[in-house]
Subunit: 163 residues, 2 copies
C-alpha cells in the first residue's frame, strides 16, 4: 500500500500564489469578499516588496497544489509581537491536521525571528466557533473582546499566545 | 486690539503635508521614530491613491502653518467602524484647545460618512496619561487592554466612542 503523499512546506512566495490564496480563502466560506481581497493584497504586496512588506507566508502544498497557508508579520511599533493575519485550509482538506501543522510551523518561524507574542483576531459569531476552538486548543488565550466591532452583535475576539 | 488669527481647517492633502506631519509628530515627543515613519507613509499613501488609500485627514492651519492634524479611516471588514489613527498638535500650540477642535471636527466628518464607532489606541505608559485623559474627557471609553503589547510592561489601551 502506498503512503499518502507528503505535504511540502515553503515560505517563498510565487507569482501564482495570489490566485492560489483566493481559491483557498474563498473555499473556506469563512471570509467575506472584502476579506478575500485583503488576503490577496497582502500576497501581492509581498511579491512587490518582499519581506519589506511586513507580511511573511507559509504555504502547504500537496502534489503541487496549495492546500493551506498562513500570513503573519511583526506588528509595527511593538518590540517583538507578531500578528497572525491569516490562516486557512482548502475546504476539501480540512480536519486532516494540516491547519495545526501550518500553525505550529508558523509559530516556530516567528519564534526563530525573536517573536515574543502572537496575536490573532476572529469574530464572535457562531460560525467562527471552530476557529475560536482551534486557537484555544493550541494555547491561545482570549486577550480582549471589542463589542460590535465587525457589525452590531458581531464582536472582535483577540487571542494571544506567548512563545 | 487685534483678534488672534483664526485656525483654518482643510481635508485636502497637499504635497507639502508629509513634511509638515513629520515636524508635527516629532515635536510632540509622543511618538517613536518608527511611528513617525508610519505617520508619514499614510500621508504619502493618500497623495498617491486619494480616498482609495483608506486614510482621510484633517489639517489645522494657523497663518499657513500646519499646527495640528488627524488621520482616520474606515476599518476594513467592519460595517461602519472607524479608526482614528493619528491626532497630534505641534508642541508650541498645545493646551490651546486645538486638539479638541480637530478631534470634534474629525468625529463630525466620520459621522457624516455613516461611521458608527470610532476606535483609538494608545499606550498604558505614564507618559501617555495626558493622551488617555484627552480621550476619556471627550467621550471615549476603555474597550480593552492588551497586556505587554508594545513591550513588556507597555500595554495597548483601546478606546471606543459610539457616535
Amino acid at each position: 500500500m502506498n503512503q499518502p503523499p507528503a505535504i511540502v512546506f515553503r515560505e517563498k512566495v510565487k507569482p501564482s500564489d495570489p490566485e492560489a490564496v483566493r481559491l483557498l480563502v474563498q473555499s473556506s466560506g469563512f471570509f467575506s469578499q472584502v476579506e478575500v481581497e485583503i488576503a490577496l493584497e497582502l500576497v501581492e504586496e509581498h511579491l512587490m516588496k518582499g519581506e519589506e512588506s511586513g507580511y511573511s507566508f507559509l504555504f502547504a502544498e500537496l502534489q503541487g497544489q496549495v492546500v493551506a497557508y498562513s500570513c503573519f508579520g511583526p506588528i509595527p511599533g511593538t518590540e517583538s509581537n507578531y500578528d497572525l493575519y491569516w490562516i486557512a485550509v482548502l475546504n476539501d482538506f480540512r480536519s486532516m491536521g494540516i491547519g495545526k501543522e501550518v500553525l505550529q510551523r508558523s509559530e516556530q518561524i516567528i519564534a526563530q525571528r525573536g517573536g515574543r507574542q502572537i496575536y490573532v483576531e476572529t469574530s464572535s459569531r457562531d460560525q467562527y466557533e471552530p476557529t475560536r476552538s482551534f486557537y484555544k486548543n493550541h494555547g491561545y488565550g482570549e486577550a480582549a473582546q471589542l463589542q460590535d466591532f465587525y457589525a452590531v452583535g458581531d464582536h472582535k475576539v483577540i487571542y494571544v499566545k506567548a512563545l
